[in-house]
Symmetry: C2
Subunit: 293 residues, 2 copies
């Protein structure tokens, strides 16, 4: 993972600015930076970043005050910014003129940095970068959150399941140039679901539905596979799993989850792994490179 982090990994000199939404991940990112000897300045979005805002040093801000949050970062000597966490409420972006759909999840901002096609977001990021900040990826500032290789919980995958996972990883790799396909569900070398705009949890809900309809084997089994794009680096929005992913995979009666080692983020790691163990699902990290179509 050290090699994959590339040049400019982690913090450099000053503290890392964490612009935070909801969920455990912002807290974990801040703690991982600190555990690695770095410092953070945390600004959490009012009404979203409840967990991270329990940190006494965290400031909250409303969407309309994002300029103030940026000013705070500058005054604290921040150069590296990371956007992390979920957004559940439609923000009021009239002041910023951003597309609310695009910003539903803050990490999507990062997509704009690597060729995402939303001109408005790119413009905002350019403004931020023009003020002297570097927008970093979670995998870059907090590599400890990336999945390791091998079984991450109690259970492992058998050879046939690993073969399934490699098959799906290769299919997703083939989609890389088209900027789609972060996840798939595969059963005996048959890909039964491919993720696009719906996100992983909805894709898994669909598999549960297809089982009930008898469109896929009603017996259970199959693997959720998540991977980054081939060549995708840690500065960009990486595939992420968490407890909700495990719950959705269990509801779809899958046998387990295979994620790309070194380039997938596990949010709420302890609970995610514990939940996989409880549900009897394997959770395995597998290298994703070298498998183009």
């Amino acid at each position: 993972m050290g090699a994959a982090a590339g040049e400019g990994a982690a913090t450099g000199s000053g503290p890392v600015g964490v612009i935070a939404g909801g969920g455990m991940l912002p807290l974990e990112v801040a703690e991982a930076i600190e555990a690695a000897g770095g410092r953070v300045v945390v600004a959490g979005i009012d009404g979203e970043a409840d967990l991270v805002l329990r940190r006494p040093d965290a400031r909250s801000f409303r969407w309309g005050q994002i300029g103030g949050a940026i000013d705070l970062m500058a005054s604290r000597g921040v150069h590296d910014l990371v956007f992390v966490g979920t957004i559940t409420r439609r923000p009021d972006f009239r002041s910023l003129r951003l597309d609310a759909g695009t910003l539903r999840r803050l990490p999507r901002i990062l997509q704009a940095l690597v060729g995402g096609d939303d001109g408005v977001v790119r413009k905002v990021l350019k403004l931020i970068e023009a003020e002297g900040f570097h927008v970093r990826g979670i995998g870059e500032v907090a590599p400890a959150l990336l999945a390791a290789e091998g079984p991450l919980g109690r259970l492992g995958a058998d050879d046939d399941q690993i073969e399934d996972a490699r098959f799906a990883m290769a299919a997703l790799a083939a989609l890389g140039p088209y900027d789609v396909g972060q996840a798939a569900v595969v059963m005996q070398r048959r890909i039964v679901a491919l993720e696009a705009a719906e996100g992983t949890d909805r894709m898994l809900a669909r598999v549960a539905e297809l089982r009930q309809l008898g469109r896929v084997s009603t017996k259970g089994g199959g693997v959720l596979v998540k991977r980054a794009k081939p060549g995708q680096d840690l500065r960009t929005e990486l595939p992420t799993i968490g407890p909700a992913t495990v719950a959705a995979a269990a509801a779809a009666k899958l046998a387990g989850i295979v994620i790309e080692a070194g380039r997938t983020i596990i949010a709420d790691r302890q609970e995610t792994i514990a939940q996989a163990d409880r549900a009897g699902l394997f959770l395995v990290g597998l290298p994703g490179e070298g498998d183009a179509a």
Copy 2:
């Protein structure tokens, strides 16, 4: 299209045996064969093949009597068999020991001919072929049902929409080796949905849902793209559209539909095109070859 039909196109000597499920397509296949100077022997599945069974020459059979239907074909001098039409009820396959899920749609039988992984279906097809029959594809025996190139209805696609369609066609082509990806929905070079086991209509229902949720542009627009696998020949199960496809695309507020010319079947062509015209959707045939990843 003549070249794509390959050797052994259409009927050869005897009549073509049409084993029929529901929908207009079995009727259209039979009529297309006759319009091209061929003859047919039609056997329709009881309770499914209502439309084709209006033909006075059509025989009906229950799933348990499929052996009798095959015998009928042999007694009439049939060598070429085509399986066509939809199956809505779970057939009673105890006698045949087939997987009901696999046979939900009869055309899937054909997949087994080209490397499908269902050993049982392949075994049944081998039995049928061992009796001296050749199982043919719809595109092979009824090439008149294949989509032509260019606008098929009143409306055409603009350059930007064609560019979107080419982008999605290339992405689907990249999935060809993985035997998945007969359809996608694309909006401004962003692929928002990829079809796997759910089928096209469910994928389109998902796009309608994602619009309501604001996960894709709520303004409407976007293109449904369907194509065969690169190199897929007319003997295999080809992508098919019909009035239900158009209705689902309209409900998803798409701008139109692009299908691969020469390798996509249009069921109930007149109604399909009329419905696209009424809904204000373009329906365009586009060549699909030469666009590998």
